[in-house]
């Protein structure tokens, strides 16, 4: 292992600039002559636009343009689209409501874009935006997901029952048969709370049309600049793809919310040409982020688990209603379907599973992928349901899991819900977690808490996820509109330094460090000599971006493949220089050696020869720069066991997490420190969902939790010191690195561990977020606590 190669705890290269305030974010960019955009947004959840009078806004000082939906239509710009086609049970395609860049005819949620004002200064744009006259005819709003089907109002007039699709997966007949002969059926209803992504950097964009070159540049907060370029060209039609450059510089967090193609970024690009080529800048205010960044989760689910006498799982039946919000966001269709129901086997050998999902429009912010995306929803319901089954059968929650784990010799394992798990050893990870947690010593800790007047509980959660999205042919067959391979270019300079250009994007993940470690390891060059470049469609090869914990498993493997090409070419050059045959050249630790001799050339010498080819293999191209694309044969399947211990204050209902143990199988790990950091962040977000976070709308569709005064984000003091083990991996088989992905695990596994721990403490499952009042009320009604009195 190189000193800073694979497996080393290397400090992050990027942190010096971030913690010293030298990061360079989109809002830090100011182009000469730039104008400012302010959006006029709908104050109503649902209304018809009767009239827009631009006059007073246009007359306001400094105003350069006021554009609305009619201007968008006049320029024949395309609608925002959902890129994954999901079909209903009857084979019909999902019903996609029209989503124009600026509202036309109707507004469909509070925050919907009605118009944009472009002015010389930001304040002039704000002033003018207030002067725009918009007359609305208010319509009744559809807010409650559970009532969307029969709501008197339609979000999209042409879509009956607000139903986008009614989809299913699994063998219904087999499931029904298993239920018919079950010894016991455990049933529960779940609400998976709606979350606001809250990246610390709000979305921002600067659009610039250069009249001289007739070319466009869009600086923006993106997790996937090439996907933005593709959609803005191919679907919106603002610029042809070869004339559009998308740059995503440092990005302060995404969690999914910066994957999507929103209207604002498109509008500033389009508007730049409308005002003759001056750059147009927009930065979301925090209150805009709350009402325009796609929200996450928001399911109502009924689930049933059939068991035999011994507690073996026979079948699982799940019905979910998923909230899409007012429009379909870029990937919104696949989150509650292919990224959700396919994970319902969990870590268990349940032989039959059936899930159907109805996705509804409501007059709320669009809902799409948020850290975990579909998988947290699946994991949460399965792991709380399994716990409930154990309680109902009088079993220890640990024992019911042991009984049902897929055994380690059963891999590759075909689940009843489409996926083939590659590797895993769930029981070993589970026992390791229980040992660290001293699971069987819990009663003594409970007794000690009781002495202090606290109710103590312990909860387990055994999550699984599918990462490294994904085999293009597979996602294509499931409806994806794109391929999900990844790309890399590895380029040596004359002086032996390395530039790595990746199609993924780093916005907190630490790619600049991890990928440099990878290359240092593979090519035997110093870590410090490797620079990772990303986030610019004019520099990097076409890539699909960063989400779904895919960057290392897919993008990292593309880097490996490019390194292999470099080595293969290097061998040719070394053979020539060393006057040996190519087949006799070995490469190791940065040196090409003639097998069995001490004759060698360093990679630096070989690279120099490639760029100064005075003595060079005839016919071989000079230069040392290789590009590779990688399309994985399968997903990767990170899995783990989380153990949470809580203390509940029975007087107030406040829950304190006193211990949290996470043992994860991420396959091989390149930088354990970064991986632990990713787990910490994920856990905090998962705990946030379990205890604190929850977007709430009132009946008229106003977001009540529209600021940090009302939307509770977790703080450092809300979580304990985590005990994290990431070295229990079974190497993945879909990539040569054996890596699985770690970015979402914490957010996927944590909620069930927390909620199960609370149930263990008070005897009742509390819906998320388990606020003090909810817990306090549950305590009042707990049969377990009444019995104990």
């Amino acid at each position: 292992m190189a000193e800073k190669g694979i497996g080393a705890r290397v400090l992050r290269k990027e942190d010096l600039r971030f913690i010293s305030g030298r990061g360079h974010y989109t809002d830090d960019i100011n182009l000469p002559g730039q104008a400012y955009a302010v959006f006029v947004r709908s104050p109503h959840a649902h209304a018809r636009i009767k009239r827009i009078d631009k006059g007073p806004a246009l007359a306001s000082p400094g105003v350069l343009a006021v554009l609305d939906g009619q201007d968008v239509a006049a320029d024949r710009l395309g609608n925002l689209v959902c890129g994954w086609l999901v079909k209903s049970k009857d084979g019909s395609p999902m019903k996609m409501g029209k989503h124009p860049l600026l509202a036309q005819e109707k507004v469909r949620y509070v925050g919907d874009r009605v118009a944009v004002v472009i002015a010389e200064t930001y304040h002039q744009a704000k002033d003018a935006a207030e002067k725009l006259i918009v007359e609305y005819e208010e319509l009744p709003a559809v807010v409650d997901l559970a009532k969307a089907h029969d709501a008197p109002a339609l979000v999209h007039d042409e879509i009956p029952n607000n139903l986008c699709y009614d989809w299913e997966l699994g063998d219904k007949a087999a499931v029904d048969a298993a239920f018919a002969k079950a010894h016991h059926i455990t049933r529960a209803q779940f609400v998976n709370n709606r979350l606001v992504p809250n990246a610390i950097e709000p979305r921002a964009a600067i659009g610039h049309w250069d009249p001289g070159q007739d070319a466009y540049t869009l600086y923006m907060t993106s997790q996937n600049p090439h996907v933005h370029r593709l959609v803005i060209s191919a679907f919106i039609g603002i610029a042809p793809e070869h004339k559009l450059r998308v740059v995503a510089p440092d990005v302060g967090g995404g969690f999914g919310s910066k994957i999507f193609i929103y209207g604002e970024e498109c509008v500033v690009l389009w508007a730049s040409k409308k005002i003759g080529g001056r750059p147009v800048k927009w930065t979301a205010e925090r209150s805009e982020s709350f009402i325009t960044d796609a929200h996450g989760r928001d399911h109502v689910t009924t689930a049933e688990l059939a068991l035999d006498k011994e507690g073996n799982f026979l079948a699982l039946r799940v019905n979910t209603k998923a909230n899409l919000g007012a429009y379909m966001s870029t990937f919104s269709s696949c989150i509650p379907t292919y990224l959700y129901a396919t994970l319902l086997a969990g870590q268990y050998k349940t032989p039959a599973i059936y899930c159907d999902v109805q996705a509804y429009y409501t007059n709320t912010v669009p809902v799409d992928a948020y850290r975990g995306a579909g998988r947290p929803e699946a994991s949460f319901l399965l792991e709380t349901l399994v716990d409930q089954a154990a309680i109902e059968l009088g079993m220890d929650p640990a024992d019911i899991r042991r009984k049902n784990f897929i055994p380690k010799d059963a891999f590759p394992y075909q689940t009843p819900v489409a996926l083939v798990y590659d590797t895993g050893d769930y029981a070993r990870v589970f026992e390791e977690a229980l040992k660290i947690a001293d699971y069987y010593g819990f009663p003594a800790r409970r007794a000690e808490s009781e002495k202090r007047g606290k109710l103590r509980g312990i909860g387990l959660s055994c999550y699984i996820e599918a990462c490294g999205i994904a085999p293009s042919a597979v996602v294509g067959s499931l409806g994806a509109g794109v391929g999900l391979w990844e790309s890399a270019k590895v380029r040596f300079t004359h002086t032996g330094k390395v530039q790595v250009l990746t199609g993924t994007h780093t916005h907190g993940q630490g790619h600049e460090t991890t990928f440099a470690q990878l290359v240092a390891d593979k090519l035997g060059v110093p870590f410090e000599d490797v620079e990772v470049i990303h986030g610019d469609t004019d520099k990097t090869p076409v890539g699909m971006g960063t989400y779904g914990s895919r960057s290392l498993a897919v993008g990292g493997e593309a880097i490996v493949k490019a390194c292999e090409k470099i080595i293969a070419k290097g061998k040719k050059i070394a053979a020539h220089l060393l006057e040996a045959s190519e087949g006799d050249i070995e490469f190791k630790d940065g040196k090409f050696t003639v097998k069995g001799t001490d004759k060698s050339k360093t990679i630096g010498e070989v690279v120099f020869a490639a760029y100064v080819p005075h003595n060079y293999p005839p016919g071989l191209e000079p230069g040392m720069e290789e590009t590779a694309f990688f399309d994985p044969p399968n997903f990767t399947f990170p899995a783990g066991t989380y153990v949470c211990e809580v203390e509940v204050d029975p007087q107030t209902g406040k829950v304190d997490i006193v211990r949290f143990i996470a043992v994860d199988d991420f396959g091989n790990v390149v930088n354990p420190m970064i991986v632990e950091g990713q787990v910490h962040g994920g856990l905090v977000q998962g705990i946030g969902q379990a205890l604190l976070e929850g977007a709430r709308y009132d009946e008229s569709g106003q977001l009540l939790t529209g600021s940090y005064m009302d939307y509770a984000m977790p703080r450092a003091s809300d979580v304990p010191f985590f005990e994290v083990v990431t070295t229990q991996g079974t190497p993945a088989v879909a990539n040569s690195l054996g890596v699985k992905g770690c970015g979402e695990a914490g957010a996927i596994g944590a909620p069930a561990a927390v909620i199960n721990a609370i149930r263990n403490a008070i005897g009742v499952r509390v819906e998320m977020p388990a606020t003090p009042e909810r817990v306090w009320r549950a305590i009042q009604q707990s049969p377990m606590l009444k019995a104990a009195e």
């Binding site: 304040h123 704000k126 207030e130 209150s287 007087q651 107030t652 406040k654 604190l692 709430r696 009540l704 939790t705 940090y708 005064m709 009302d710 939307y711 509770a712 984000m713 809300d718 606020t771 003090p772 009042e773 306090w776 009320r777």
Partner: protein
């Protein structure tokens, strides 16, 4: 923000004069409430009169056995003050729990009570201790008369709080159940045993800070947690919102009263 003029007086007299002659002007203290209000364009003052450079509005001193604290004294200063910790430790503890470090380094006593946010902490201490609010018009307003309603006080439009005088209690304690998002009080209870009897002030629970007379009576007869056991708070006049129902708040008042009592010793 809308455009406004900005004044930076260095004496109270100058500030009072500016306020009297600019009826649409607003005082700026720590700005923790008012700056966000301006940023959201919810207010359009003609001018801001910044009180930050008026030395006579700042400082903590002992007076008549109690404490006098200048209106522009920051929460962090009160929290860290050895004098406050010695004379009325409950007040320092209360200040220490306001918001977060940034807010405590900017927010002021005068700004807090002038604003009279229903969920703010200081109003509970001012009312619970039976403090007196001193103003630029030479008035000394008793706490019982000062907080008149939601975001409303007995101040006249052109009146400036100069200081608050807190008499020294025999014992006092404060306990708050913070809103997990904002850290303001969902319920905060300040209990004090004073020469004039027991005072219990509740913040966060209703549209305005108020005295919980049932708890006062119970504690008057016995200064003990057990005395509170029998007290039931009527939820009828309490707030119900997405953070807490009125019933839950009513329950929390008795729980927090007991914890405040424990803190008071």
């Amino acid at each position: 923000m809308y455009a406004f003029d900005y004044f930076r007086p260095s004496t109270l007299a100058e500030a009072a004069q500016l306020l009297a002659s600019n009826p649409e002007a607003k005082l700026l203290a720590g700005g923790q409430t008012y700056i966000p209000t301006l940023k959201q364009r919810l207010a359009k003052p003609s001018a801001l009169i910044d009180l930050a450079h008026i030395a006579e509005l700042r400082g903590i001193s002992e007076e008549a056995g109690g404490l006098t604290i200048g209106a522009m004294t920051r929460h962090a200063e009160v929290a860290a003050s050895p004098v406050v910790k010695r004379v009325i430790p409950a007040l320092a503890a209360l200040a220490e729990e306001i918001g977060d470090p940034q807010v405590r380094n900017r927010g002021t006593l005068g700004g807090s009570i002038a604003n009279n946010d229903p969920a703010a902490d200081y109003p509970a201490a001012v009312l619970g201790l039976g403090a007196t609010v001193r103003t630029s018009k030479g008035r000394a307003i008793a706490a019982d008369d000062f907080f008149t309603g939601m975001f409303e006080t007995a101040l006249e439009p052109d009146e400036i709080i100069t200081a608050v005088h807190f008499p020294k209690p025999e014992k006092a304690g404060y306990a708050k159940f913070p809103n997990p998002a904002s850290r303001y009080a969902i319920v905060g209870v300040f209990v004090a045993k004073t020469a004039a009897g027991v005072r219990v002030a509740v913040t966060g629970a209703a549209p305005c800070v108020f005295r919980a007379t049932a708890i006062e009576q119970a504690l008057q007869s016995a200064w003990s947690e057990a005395a509170i056991d029998g007290v039931r708070i009527d939820p009828a006049n309490l707030n119900s919102d997405i953070h807490a129902s009125a019933e839950y708040r009513a329950h929390l008042i008795t729980v927090m009263a007991k914890r405040a009592l424990r803190a008071a010793g």
